[in-house]
Symmetry: C2
Subunit: 307 residues, 2 copies
Protein backbone atom coordinates (compact mmCIF):
# COMPACT_ATOMS: atom_id res chain seq x y z
CA UNK A 1 0.00 0.00 0.00
CA UNK A 2 1.30 3.47 -0.89
CA UNK A 3 1.88 6.13 1.74
CA UNK A 4 -1.29 7.98 2.51
CA UNK A 5 -0.18 11.53 3.27
CA UNK A 6 -2.85 13.56 4.96
CA UNK A 7 -3.22 16.96 3.29
CA UNK A 8 -5.29 19.86 4.55
CA UNK A 9 -8.95 18.97 4.31
CA UNK A 10 -8.27 15.31 3.58
CA UNK A 11 -10.10 12.67 5.61
CA UNK A 12 -7.98 11.81 8.68
CA UNK A 13 -6.46 8.35 8.66
CA UNK A 14 -8.39 7.34 11.82
CA UNK A 15 -11.63 7.92 9.86
CA UNK A 16 -10.41 6.37 6.62
CA UNK A 17 -9.10 3.04 7.95
CA UNK A 18 -9.62 0.91 11.06
CA UNK A 19 -7.61 1.95 14.12
CA UNK A 20 -5.76 -0.78 16.04
CA UNK A 21 -5.30 -0.49 19.79
CA UNK A 22 -2.70 -2.78 21.34
CA UNK A 23 -3.73 -2.91 24.99
CA UNK A 24 -7.06 -1.71 26.36
CA UNK A 25 -6.01 -0.31 29.75
CA UNK A 26 -6.48 3.29 30.85
CA UNK A 27 -5.06 4.85 27.68
CA UNK A 28 -6.08 2.21 25.12
CA UNK A 29 -9.55 1.77 26.59
CA UNK A 30 -10.18 5.50 26.79
CA UNK A 31 -9.04 5.96 23.19
CA UNK A 32 -11.35 3.13 22.10
CA UNK A 33 -14.37 4.74 23.75
CA UNK A 34 -13.62 8.21 22.34
CA UNK A 35 -12.83 7.01 18.83
CA UNK A 36 -15.96 4.89 18.59
CA UNK A 37 -18.04 7.85 19.81
CA UNK A 38 -16.54 9.72 16.85
CA UNK A 39 -17.54 6.91 14.48
CA UNK A 40 -14.18 5.15 14.05
CA UNK A 41 -13.78 1.43 13.38
CA UNK A 42 -11.67 0.27 16.33
CA UNK A 43 -9.88 -3.09 16.65
CA UNK A 44 -8.47 -4.06 20.04
CA UNK A 45 -5.68 -6.55 20.73
CA UNK A 46 -5.30 -7.80 24.30
CA UNK A 47 -3.13 -10.42 26.00
CA UNK A 48 -5.65 -12.53 27.92
CA UNK A 49 -9.00 -13.95 26.88
CA UNK A 50 -10.57 -12.81 30.20
CA UNK A 51 -9.54 -9.24 29.34
CA UNK A 52 -11.04 -9.61 25.88
CA UNK A 53 -14.37 -10.71 27.37
CA UNK A 54 -14.52 -7.74 29.70
CA UNK A 55 -13.32 -5.30 27.00
CA UNK A 56 -16.16 -6.51 24.76
CA UNK A 57 -18.67 -6.05 27.59
CA UNK A 58 -17.41 -2.52 28.14
CA UNK A 59 -17.46 -1.81 24.39
CA UNK A 60 -13.85 -0.58 24.40
CA UNK A 61 -13.46 -1.59 20.74
CA UNK A 62 -15.73 -2.82 17.97
CA UNK A 63 -13.66 -6.00 17.64
CA UNK A 64 -11.53 -7.36 20.47
CA UNK A 65 -9.21 -10.32 20.12
CA UNK A 66 -6.16 -12.01 21.60
CA UNK A 67 -5.05 -12.81 18.04
CA UNK A 68 -2.61 -10.22 16.59
CA UNK A 69 -4.30 -10.85 13.24
CA UNK A 70 -7.04 -8.47 14.44
CA UNK A 71 -4.71 -5.62 13.39
CA UNK A 72 -4.58 -6.77 9.74
CA UNK A 73 -6.58 -3.97 8.11
CA UNK A 74 -5.57 -1.13 10.40
CA UNK A 75 -4.05 2.04 8.94
CA UNK A 76 -3.10 3.42 12.34
CA UNK A 77 -1.98 1.35 15.34
CA UNK A 78 -1.57 2.71 18.87
CA UNK A 79 0.66 0.62 21.12
CA UNK A 80 -0.84 1.28 24.53
CA UNK A 81 1.19 -1.25 26.53
CA UNK A 82 3.08 -0.76 29.81
CA UNK A 83 6.59 0.58 29.23
CA UNK A 84 8.37 -2.73 29.80
CA UNK A 85 6.26 -4.56 27.22
CA UNK A 86 6.48 -1.62 24.81
CA UNK A 87 10.27 -1.73 25.03
CA UNK A 88 10.46 -5.51 24.55
CA UNK A 89 7.68 -6.19 22.04
CA UNK A 90 6.96 -9.83 21.36
CA UNK A 91 7.63 -11.19 17.90
CA UNK A 92 3.99 -12.06 17.21
CA UNK A 93 3.03 -8.42 17.72
CA UNK A 94 5.82 -7.20 15.44
CA UNK A 95 4.88 -9.73 12.77
CA UNK A 96 1.24 -8.61 12.89
CA UNK A 97 1.93 -4.93 12.16
CA UNK A 98 0.11 -4.09 8.93
CA UNK A 99 2.47 -3.06 6.12
CA UNK A 100 3.11 0.68 5.96
CA UNK A 101 0.84 1.32 8.96
CA UNK A 102 1.28 4.49 11.00
CA UNK A 103 2.27 3.24 14.45
CA UNK A 104 2.47 5.32 17.61
CA UNK A 105 2.94 4.58 21.30
CA UNK A 106 1.83 6.22 24.53
CA UNK A 107 4.94 5.58 26.66
CA UNK A 108 6.10 8.04 29.31
CA UNK A 109 9.72 8.11 28.05
CA UNK A 110 10.60 8.74 24.44
CA UNK A 111 14.35 8.19 23.90
CA UNK A 112 14.29 4.44 24.69
CA UNK A 113 11.06 3.96 22.72
CA UNK A 114 12.64 5.48 19.62
CA UNK A 115 15.66 3.19 20.01
CA UNK A 116 13.38 0.14 19.89
CA UNK A 117 10.71 1.33 17.44
CA UNK A 118 12.13 4.28 15.49
CA UNK A 119 13.90 2.45 12.67
CA UNK A 120 11.71 -0.62 12.28
CA UNK A 121 11.21 -1.43 8.57
CA UNK A 122 7.72 -1.70 7.13
CA UNK A 123 5.98 0.67 9.57
CA UNK A 124 5.90 4.45 9.93
CA UNK A 125 6.56 5.10 13.61
CA UNK A 126 5.74 8.27 15.56
CA UNK A 127 6.76 8.45 19.24
CA UNK A 128 4.06 10.13 21.28
CA UNK A 129 2.86 10.54 24.86
CA UNK A 130 -0.66 11.55 25.88
CA UNK A 131 -0.24 12.99 29.40
CA UNK A 132 -3.35 11.58 31.01
CA UNK A 133 -3.67 10.30 34.58
CA UNK A 134 -2.10 7.03 35.60
CA UNK A 135 -3.80 6.26 38.93
CA UNK A 136 -6.23 3.74 37.42
CA UNK A 137 -5.06 0.82 35.31
CA UNK A 138 -6.46 -2.25 33.57
CA UNK A 139 -9.50 -3.05 31.51
CA UNK A 140 -11.88 -1.24 33.91
CA UNK A 141 -9.90 2.02 33.77
CA UNK A 142 -10.76 3.41 30.33
CA UNK A 143 -13.16 6.33 30.33
CA UNK A 144 -14.55 8.70 27.73
CA UNK A 145 -13.07 12.21 27.55
CA UNK A 146 -9.78 11.32 29.28
CA UNK A 147 -7.63 13.29 26.81
CA UNK A 148 -9.75 16.41 26.61
CA UNK A 149 -7.58 19.48 27.30
CA UNK A 150 -4.57 17.33 28.28
CA UNK A 151 -1.17 17.57 26.56
CA UNK A 152 -0.41 15.01 23.86
CA UNK A 153 3.29 15.30 23.06
CA UNK A 154 4.96 13.84 19.99
CA UNK A 155 8.74 13.67 19.57
CA UNK A 156 9.42 13.53 15.83
CA UNK A 157 13.01 12.86 14.66
CA UNK A 158 14.66 13.11 11.24
CA UNK A 159 13.40 9.65 10.30
CA UNK A 160 9.78 10.45 11.17
CA UNK A 161 7.40 10.43 8.19
CA UNK A 162 5.61 13.84 8.10
CA UNK A 163 2.37 12.22 6.89
CA UNK A 164 2.50 9.78 9.79
CA UNK A 165 3.04 12.65 12.22
CA UNK A 166 -0.03 14.38 10.74
CA UNK A 167 -2.09 11.23 11.19
CA UNK A 168 -1.18 10.99 14.88
CA UNK A 169 -1.81 14.71 15.36
CA UNK A 170 -5.29 14.31 13.86
CA UNK A 171 -5.96 11.42 16.22
CA UNK A 172 -4.81 13.44 19.25
CA UNK A 173 -6.87 16.49 18.28
CA UNK A 174 -9.94 14.34 17.58
CA UNK A 175 -10.04 13.17 21.21
CA UNK A 176 -9.49 16.71 22.51
CA UNK A 177 -5.76 16.58 23.29
CA UNK A 178 -3.47 19.64 23.27
CA UNK A 179 -0.88 18.79 20.61
CA UNK A 180 2.78 19.59 21.25
CA UNK A 181 6.00 18.43 19.61
CA UNK A 182 9.53 18.54 20.98
CA UNK A 183 12.85 16.70 20.83
CA UNK A 184 12.86 13.30 22.59
CA UNK A 185 15.62 14.36 25.02
CA UNK A 186 13.66 17.50 25.97
CA UNK A 187 10.54 15.44 26.59
CA UNK A 188 12.44 13.03 28.79
CA UNK A 189 14.12 15.85 30.75
CA UNK A 190 10.77 17.58 31.26
CA UNK A 191 8.92 14.48 32.48
CA UNK A 192 11.85 13.63 34.76
CA UNK A 193 11.30 16.99 36.47
CA UNK A 194 7.52 17.13 36.60
CA UNK A 195 6.54 13.47 36.74
CA UNK A 196 9.35 11.08 37.73
CA UNK A 197 11.16 13.25 40.32
CA UNK A 198 7.91 13.94 42.23
CA UNK A 199 7.41 10.19 42.73
CA UNK A 200 10.72 9.86 44.59
CA UNK A 201 10.36 13.18 46.45
CA UNK A 202 6.96 12.07 47.64
CA UNK A 203 8.01 8.49 48.47
CA UNK A 204 10.92 9.79 50.58
CA UNK A 205 8.45 11.94 52.54
CA UNK A 206 6.33 8.89 53.35
CA UNK A 207 9.42 7.00 54.49
CA UNK A 208 10.63 9.92 56.63
CA UNK A 209 7.22 10.33 58.28
CA UNK A 210 7.12 6.61 58.94
CA UNK A 211 10.62 6.53 60.47
CA UNK A 212 10.16 9.76 62.41
CA UNK A 213 6.83 8.55 63.67
CA UNK A 214 8.06 5.34 65.27
CA UNK A 215 7.00 4.16 68.69
CA UNK A 216 4.62 6.35 70.67
CA UNK A 217 4.59 8.99 67.93
CA UNK A 218 3.34 6.55 65.28
CA UNK A 219 -0.36 6.79 66.10
CA UNK A 220 -0.13 10.55 66.47
CA UNK A 221 1.64 11.08 63.14
CA UNK A 222 -0.96 8.92 61.42
CA UNK A 223 -3.87 10.52 63.29
CA UNK A 224 -2.81 14.07 62.44
CA UNK A 225 -1.91 13.63 58.78
CA UNK A 226 -4.35 15.73 56.79
CA UNK A 227 -4.87 17.20 53.34
CA UNK A 228 -1.41 18.73 52.91
CA UNK A 229 0.30 15.44 53.67
CA UNK A 230 -2.22 13.57 51.53
CA UNK A 231 -1.50 15.81 48.52
CA UNK A 232 2.26 15.72 48.89
CA UNK A 233 2.44 11.93 49.26
CA UNK A 234 -0.11 10.94 46.62
CA UNK A 235 2.32 10.07 43.82
CA UNK A 236 4.84 8.52 46.22
CA UNK A 237 2.18 6.05 47.31
CA UNK A 238 1.26 5.22 43.72
CA UNK A 239 1.87 2.19 41.52
CA UNK A 240 5.36 0.80 42.34
CA UNK A 241 5.66 -0.99 38.98
CA UNK A 242 5.10 2.26 37.11
CA UNK A 243 7.46 4.23 39.35
CA UNK A 244 10.23 1.68 38.89
CA UNK A 245 9.76 1.52 35.10
CA UNK A 246 9.91 5.30 34.81
CA UNK A 247 13.12 5.46 36.86
CA UNK A 248 14.69 2.58 34.99
CA UNK A 249 13.98 3.90 31.52
CA UNK A 250 14.58 7.57 32.23
CA UNK A 251 17.52 7.07 34.58
CA UNK A 252 19.91 9.75 33.30
CA UNK A 253 17.32 12.52 33.20
CA UNK A 254 15.99 11.47 36.60
CA UNK A 255 19.48 11.55 38.14
CA UNK A 256 19.98 15.06 36.76
CA UNK A 257 16.65 16.12 38.27
CA UNK A 258 17.54 14.49 41.61
CA UNK A 259 20.87 16.34 41.70
CA UNK A 260 19.05 19.66 41.25
CA UNK A 261 16.51 18.68 43.87
CA UNK A 262 19.19 17.72 46.39
CA UNK A 263 20.71 21.19 46.06
CA UNK A 264 17.36 22.91 46.52
CA UNK A 265 16.27 20.98 49.62
CA UNK A 266 19.77 21.47 51.12
CA UNK A 267 19.52 25.23 50.53
CA UNK A 268 16.17 25.39 52.34
CA UNK A 269 17.50 23.22 55.17
CA UNK A 270 20.46 25.58 55.56
CA UNK A 271 18.14 28.58 55.91
CA UNK A 272 16.26 26.79 58.69
CA UNK A 273 19.54 25.71 60.31
CA UNK A 274 20.82 29.31 60.27
CA UNK A 275 17.47 30.72 61.32
CA UNK A 276 17.55 33.05 58.32
CA UNK A 277 13.82 33.75 58.30
CA UNK A 278 13.87 36.69 55.87
CA UNK A 279 15.65 34.53 53.27
CA UNK A 280 13.35 31.57 53.93
CA UNK A 281 10.39 33.88 53.46
CA UNK A 282 11.83 35.08 50.14
CA UNK A 283 12.34 31.48 49.03
CA UNK A 284 8.76 30.50 49.91
CA UNK A 285 7.46 33.68 48.31
CA UNK A 286 9.27 32.71 45.10
CA UNK A 287 7.71 29.23 45.06
CA UNK A 288 4.32 30.75 45.86
CA UNK A 289 4.69 33.03 42.84
CA UNK A 290 6.25 30.31 40.69
CA UNK A 291 3.58 27.66 41.00
CA UNK A 292 0.72 29.25 39.03
CA UNK A 293 2.96 29.39 35.90
CA UNK A 294 2.93 25.59 35.89
CA UNK A 295 -0.83 25.49 35.88
CA UNK A 296 -1.91 28.25 33.54
CA UNK A 297 -5.36 27.41 32.20
CA UNK A 298 -4.97 25.14 29.16
CA UNK A 299 -5.96 26.40 25.77
CA UNK A 300 -9.46 25.30 24.81
CA UNK A 301 -9.52 21.86 23.23
CA UNK A 302 -9.38 22.28 19.45
CA UNK A 303 -12.32 20.00 18.85
CA UNK A 304 -15.13 18.99 21.19
CA UNK A 305 -16.10 15.39 21.62
CA UNK A 306 -19.75 14.55 21.24
CA UNK A 307 -21.69 13.79 24.44
CA UNK B 1 -15.47 34.15 89.86
CA UNK B 2 -14.83 30.67 91.22
CA UNK B 3 -13.56 27.86 89.04
CA UNK B 4 -16.36 26.24 87.15
CA UNK B 5 -15.33 22.64 86.83
CA UNK B 6 -17.36 20.77 84.22
CA UNK B 7 -18.59 17.48 85.61
CA UNK B 8 -20.31 14.72 83.68
CA UNK B 9 -23.70 15.90 82.56
CA UNK B 10 -23.06 19.53 83.51
CA UNK B 11 -23.81 22.26 81.00
CA UNK B 12 -20.66 22.89 78.90
CA UNK B 13 -18.96 26.21 79.50
CA UNK B 14 -19.52 27.30 75.86
CA UNK B 15 -23.28 27.03 76.51
CA UNK B 16 -23.20 28.55 80.00
CA UNK B 17 -21.22 31.72 79.27
CA UNK B 18 -20.38 33.82 76.21
CA UNK B 19 -17.50 32.54 74.08
CA UNK B 20 -14.84 35.06 72.98
CA UNK B 21 -13.09 34.65 69.66
CA UNK B 22 -9.91 36.68 69.17
CA UNK B 23 -9.53 36.84 65.41
CA UNK B 24 -12.24 35.89 62.90
CA UNK B 25 -10.16 34.34 60.11
CA UNK B 26 -10.50 30.78 58.88
CA UNK B 27 -10.47 29.17 62.32
CA UNK B 28 -12.12 31.94 64.36
CA UNK B 29 -14.77 32.64 61.76
CA UNK B 30 -15.61 28.98 61.30
CA UNK B 31 -15.89 28.50 65.05
CA UNK B 32 -18.18 31.52 65.26
CA UNK B 33 -20.54 30.16 62.62
CA UNK B 34 -20.65 26.67 64.16
CA UNK B 35 -21.09 27.85 67.74
CA UNK B 36 -23.90 30.24 66.85
CA UNK B 37 -25.64 27.45 64.92
CA UNK B 38 -25.48 25.53 68.21
CA UNK B 39 -27.03 28.46 70.10
CA UNK B 40 -23.91 29.92 71.72
CA UNK B 41 -23.46 33.61 72.54
CA UNK B 42 -20.33 34.52 70.56
CA UNK B 43 -18.26 37.72 70.94
CA UNK B 44 -15.63 38.48 68.31
CA UNK B 45 -12.58 40.70 68.71
CA UNK B 46 -10.82 41.84 65.53
CA UNK B 47 -7.98 44.25 64.76
CA UNK B 48 -9.44 46.51 62.08
CA UNK B 49 -12.80 48.23 61.85
CA UNK B 50 -13.15 47.17 58.19
CA UNK B 51 -12.81 43.55 59.32
CA UNK B 52 -15.43 44.11 62.02
CA UNK B 53 -17.90 45.47 59.42
CA UNK B 54 -17.44 42.46 57.17
CA UNK B 55 -17.51 39.99 60.08
CA UNK B 56 -20.87 41.47 61.15
CA UNK B 57 -22.20 41.18 57.60
CA UNK B 58 -21.14 37.54 57.51
CA UNK B 59 -22.58 36.92 60.97
CA UNK B 60 -19.35 35.39 62.26
CA UNK B 61 -20.23 36.44 65.84
CA UNK B 62 -23.24 37.92 67.60
CA UNK B 63 -21.15 40.90 68.69
CA UNK B 64 -18.03 42.01 66.83
CA UNK B 65 -15.75 44.78 68.04
CA UNK B 66 -12.22 46.17 67.78
CA UNK B 67 -12.41 46.95 71.53
CA UNK B 68 -10.90 44.20 73.72
CA UNK B 69 -13.62 45.04 76.25
CA UNK B 70 -15.94 42.88 74.11
CA UNK B 71 -14.40 39.86 75.88
CA UNK B 72 -15.49 41.06 79.35
CA UNK B 73 -18.21 38.49 80.11
CA UNK B 74 -16.68 35.51 78.31
CA UNK B 75 -16.08 32.27 80.19
CA UNK B 76 -14.09 30.73 77.35
CA UNK B 77 -11.78 32.62 74.98
CA UNK B 78 -10.24 31.16 71.84
CA UNK B 79 -7.17 33.02 70.57
CA UNK B 80 -7.39 32.42 66.83
CA UNK B 81 -4.55 34.71 65.74
CA UNK B 82 -1.65 34.01 63.37
CA UNK B 83 1.29 32.37 65.16
CA UNK B 84 3.43 35.52 65.33
CA UNK B 85 0.69 37.57 66.99
CA UNK B 86 -0.23 34.67 69.27
CA UNK B 87 3.38 34.45 70.45
CA UNK B 88 3.71 38.21 71.01
CA UNK B 89 0.26 39.16 72.33
CA UNK B 90 -0.32 42.87 72.75
CA UNK B 91 -0.83 44.22 76.22
CA UNK B 92 -4.39 45.43 75.56
CA UNK B 93 -5.41 41.87 74.70
CA UNK B 94 -3.75 40.47 77.81
CA UNK B 95 -5.38 43.12 80.00
CA UNK B 96 -8.79 42.31 78.55
CA UNK B 97 -8.74 38.60 79.43
CA UNK B 98 -11.69 38.00 81.77
CA UNK B 99 -10.62 36.84 85.25
CA UNK B 100 -10.39 33.05 85.57
CA UNK B 101 -11.46 32.54 81.94
CA UNK B 102 -10.59 29.32 80.18
CA UNK B 103 -8.31 30.41 77.33
CA UNK B 104 -7.17 28.25 74.43
CA UNK B 105 -5.33 28.87 71.18
CA UNK B 106 -5.33 27.27 67.75
CA UNK B 107 -1.62 27.60 66.89
CA UNK B 108 0.19 25.00 64.83
CA UNK B 109 3.08 24.62 67.30
CA UNK B 110 2.52 23.99 70.98
CA UNK B 111 5.86 24.24 72.86
CA UNK B 112 6.44 27.95 72.16
CA UNK B 113 2.77 28.75 72.81
CA UNK B 114 2.97 27.17 76.26
CA UNK B 115 6.11 29.17 77.02
CA UNK B 116 4.23 32.40 76.35
CA UNK B 117 0.76 31.51 77.63
CA UNK B 118 1.10 28.49 79.93
CA UNK B 119 1.90 30.23 83.22
CA UNK B 120 -0.01 33.47 82.82
CA UNK B 121 -1.75 34.41 86.10
CA UNK B 122 -5.50 35.01 86.17
CA UNK B 123 -6.42 32.75 83.24
CA UNK B 124 -6.69 28.99 82.84
CA UNK B 125 -4.80 28.20 79.63
CA UNK B 126 -5.14 25.07 77.50
CA UNK B 127 -2.88 24.74 74.44
CA UNK B 128 -4.80 23.26 71.53
CA UNK B 129 -4.66 22.89 67.76
CA UNK B 130 -7.63 22.15 65.52
CA UNK B 131 -6.10 20.62 62.38
CA UNK B 132 -8.28 22.26 59.75
CA UNK B 133 -7.17 23.51 56.33
CA UNK B 134 -5.02 26.57 55.97
CA UNK B 135 -5.35 27.45 52.29
CA UNK B 136 -7.94 30.17 52.85
CA UNK B 137 -7.37 33.04 55.26
CA UNK B 138 -9.03 36.25 56.42
CA UNK B 139 -12.55 37.33 57.24
CA UNK B 140 -14.03 35.68 54.13
CA UNK B 141 -12.52 32.27 54.93
CA UNK B 142 -14.68 31.04 57.81
CA UNK B 143 -17.16 28.33 56.90
CA UNK B 144 -19.61 26.15 58.79
CA UNK B 145 -18.60 22.54 59.45
CA UNK B 146 -14.84 23.10 59.05
CA UNK B 147 -13.92 21.00 62.10
CA UNK B 148 -16.25 18.09 61.47
CA UNK B 149 -14.25 14.85 61.59
CA UNK B 150 -10.90 16.71 61.80
CA UNK B 151 -8.39 16.20 64.62
CA UNK B 152 -8.44 18.74 67.45
CA UNK B 153 -5.33 18.13 69.52
CA UNK B 154 -4.76 19.49 73.02
CA UNK B 155 -1.38 19.35 74.78
CA UNK B 156 -2.09 19.50 78.52
CA UNK B 157 0.87 19.88 80.91
CA UNK B 158 1.12 19.55 84.70
CA UNK B 159 -0.06 23.12 85.17
CA UNK B 160 -3.18 22.62 83.03
CA UNK B 161 -6.47 22.91 84.94
CA UNK B 162 -8.47 19.68 84.34
CA UNK B 163 -11.77 21.60 84.30
CA UNK B 164 -10.38 23.98 81.67
CA UNK B 165 -9.25 21.01 79.58
CA UNK B 166 -12.78 19.60 79.83
CA UNK B 167 -14.26 22.90 78.69
CA UNK B 168 -12.05 22.98 75.59
CA UNK B 169 -12.78 19.32 74.85
CA UNK B 170 -16.54 20.04 75.01
CA UNK B 171 -16.04 22.94 72.59
CA UNK B 172 -14.05 20.77 70.16
CA UNK B 173 -16.59 17.94 70.30
CA UNK B 174 -19.50 20.36 69.87
CA UNK B 175 -18.17 21.46 66.47
CA UNK B 176 -17.51 17.86 65.40
CA UNK B 177 -13.74 17.64 66.04
CA UNK B 178 -11.89 14.40 66.82
CA UNK B 179 -10.41 15.08 70.26
CA UNK B 180 -6.84 13.95 70.96
CA UNK B 181 -4.35 14.84 73.69
CA UNK B 182 -0.58 14.39 73.69
CA UNK B 183 2.60 15.94 75.05
CA UNK B 184 3.55 19.30 73.47
CA UNK B 185 6.89 17.94 72.17
CA UNK B 186 5.13 14.96 70.55
CA UNK B 187 2.64 17.28 68.86
CA UNK B 188 5.44 19.46 67.54
CA UNK B 189 7.45 16.48 66.28
CA UNK B 190 4.37 15.04 64.56
CA UNK B 191 3.37 18.27 62.80
CA UNK B 192 6.99 18.80 61.76
CA UNK B 193 6.79 15.47 59.92
CA UNK B 194 3.33 15.67 58.41
CA UNK B 195 2.81 19.40 57.98
CA UNK B 196 5.99 21.51 58.12
CA UNK B 197 8.41 19.13 56.34
CA UNK B 198 6.03 18.70 53.37
CA UNK B 199 6.11 22.48 52.78
CA UNK B 200 9.88 22.47 52.27
CA UNK B 201 9.91 19.16 50.36
CA UNK B 202 7.30 20.57 48.02
CA UNK B 203 8.90 24.02 47.69
CA UNK B 204 12.24 22.41 46.75
CA UNK B 205 10.47 20.48 44.00
CA UNK B 206 9.08 23.69 42.53
CA UNK B 207 12.54 25.27 42.62
CA UNK B 208 14.18 22.21 41.02
CA UNK B 209 11.57 22.09 38.24
CA UNK B 210 12.07 25.79 37.65
CA UNK B 211 15.87 25.54 37.50
CA UNK B 212 15.86 22.34 35.45
CA UNK B 213 13.33 23.83 33.10
CA UNK B 214 15.35 26.88 32.11
CA UNK B 215 15.71 28.10 28.54
CA UNK B 216 14.03 26.07 25.80
CA UNK B 217 12.75 23.53 28.32
CA UNK B 218 10.86 26.12 30.38
CA UNK B 219 7.70 26.21 28.27
CA UNK B 220 7.71 22.44 27.93
CA UNK B 221 8.08 21.80 31.67
CA UNK B 222 5.23 24.20 32.36
CA UNK B 223 3.09 22.84 29.53
CA UNK B 224 3.43 19.23 30.63
CA UNK B 225 2.98 19.65 34.39
CA UNK B 226 -0.20 17.82 35.31
CA UNK B 227 -2.07 16.47 38.31
CA UNK B 228 0.83 14.62 39.95
CA UNK B 229 3.01 17.72 39.93
CA UNK B 230 0.07 19.85 41.04
CA UNK B 231 -0.57 17.61 44.05
CA UNK B 232 3.07 17.34 45.08
CA UNK B 233 3.71 21.10 44.87
CA UNK B 234 0.46 22.37 46.42
CA UNK B 235 1.78 23.07 49.93
CA UNK B 236 5.14 24.33 48.63
CA UNK B 237 3.31 27.01 46.68
CA UNK B 238 1.22 27.99 49.70
CA UNK B 239 1.26 30.99 52.02
CA UNK B 240 4.93 32.04 52.54
CA UNK B 241 4.15 33.84 55.82
CA UNK B 242 2.65 30.69 57.29
CA UNK B 243 5.47 28.46 56.03
CA UNK B 244 8.10 30.77 57.52
CA UNK B 245 6.31 31.04 60.87
CA UNK B 246 5.99 27.26 61.13
CA UNK B 247 9.70 26.77 60.40
CA UNK B 248 10.73 29.54 62.77
CA UNK B 249 8.68 28.34 65.71
CA UNK B 250 9.18 24.63 65.19
CA UNK B 251 12.80 24.80 64.09
CA UNK B 252 14.31 21.95 66.11
CA UNK B 253 11.61 19.43 65.22
CA UNK B 254 11.70 20.53 61.57
CA UNK B 255 15.49 20.10 61.42
CA UNK B 256 15.13 16.58 62.83
CA UNK B 257 12.49 15.82 60.19
CA UNK B 258 14.67 17.29 57.43
CA UNK B 259 17.61 15.14 58.53
CA UNK B 260 15.47 12.01 58.22
CA UNK B 261 14.15 13.17 54.87
CA UNK B 262 17.63 13.84 53.51
CA UNK B 263 18.60 10.23 54.34
CA UNK B 264 15.51 8.84 52.65
CA UNK B 265 15.81 10.78 49.40
CA UNK B 266 19.55 9.96 49.27
CA UNK B 267 18.76 6.25 49.66
CA UNK B 268 16.31 6.37 46.76
CA UNK B 269 18.77 8.35 44.64
CA UNK B 270 21.44 5.73 45.31
CA UNK B 271 19.14 2.96 44.08
CA UNK B 272 18.57 4.86 40.83
CA UNK B 273 22.30 5.61 40.54
CA UNK B 274 23.14 1.92 40.99
CA UNK B 275 20.29 0.80 38.76
CA UNK B 276 19.07 -1.47 41.55
CA UNK B 277 15.53 -1.83 40.18
CA UNK B 278 14.43 -4.72 42.42
CA UNK B 279 15.33 -2.68 45.53
CA UNK B 280 13.71 0.46 44.12
CA UNK B 281 10.59 -1.56 43.44
CA UNK B 282 10.60 -2.84 47.03
CA UNK B 283 11.00 0.72 48.33
CA UNK B 284 8.09 2.03 46.22
CA UNK B 285 6.03 -0.99 47.19
CA UNK B 286 6.62 -0.15 50.85
CA UNK B 287 5.47 3.46 50.38
CA UNK B 288 2.49 2.26 48.36
CA UNK B 289 1.53 0.00 51.27
CA UNK B 290 2.43 2.61 53.90
CA UNK B 291 0.32 5.49 52.68
CA UNK B 292 -3.20 4.21 53.46
CA UNK B 293 -2.28 3.92 57.18
CA UNK B 294 -1.97 7.71 57.25
CA UNK B 295 -5.44 8.15 55.89
CA UNK B 296 -7.55 5.55 57.60
CA UNK B 297 -11.16 6.73 57.64
CA UNK B 298 -11.68 8.97 60.68
CA UNK B 299 -13.97 7.84 63.45
CA UNK B 300 -17.45 9.31 63.10
CA UNK B 301 -17.76 12.75 64.62
CA UNK B 302 -19.03 12.37 68.21
CA UNK B 303 -21.78 14.92 67.74
CA UNK B 304 -23.47 16.14 64.58
CA UNK B 305 -23.92 19.80 63.89
CA UNK B 306 -27.36 20.95 62.87
CA UNK B 307 -27.88 21.95 59.24
Amino acid sequence: MANQRQGEGAVPLWQLRPVGLVGLGLIGGSLGLDLQALGADVRGLVHRESTAVRARERGLAGTVSTDPGVLADCGLVVIALPLDRLLAPDSALLAAMPGDAVVTDVGSVKGPVLEVWGQRPGIRFVASHPMAGTAAAGVEAGEQGLFRGRPWVATPVDATDPGALDAVRELALAVGGRWLTCAPADHDAAVALISHLPVLVSAALLKAADRGGEGALAALVRGLASSGFADTTRVGGGNPDLGTLMARHNREALLAALALYRQEIAALEQLVQEGDWPELHLALLSTHELRPAFFAPPEPAPQELPG
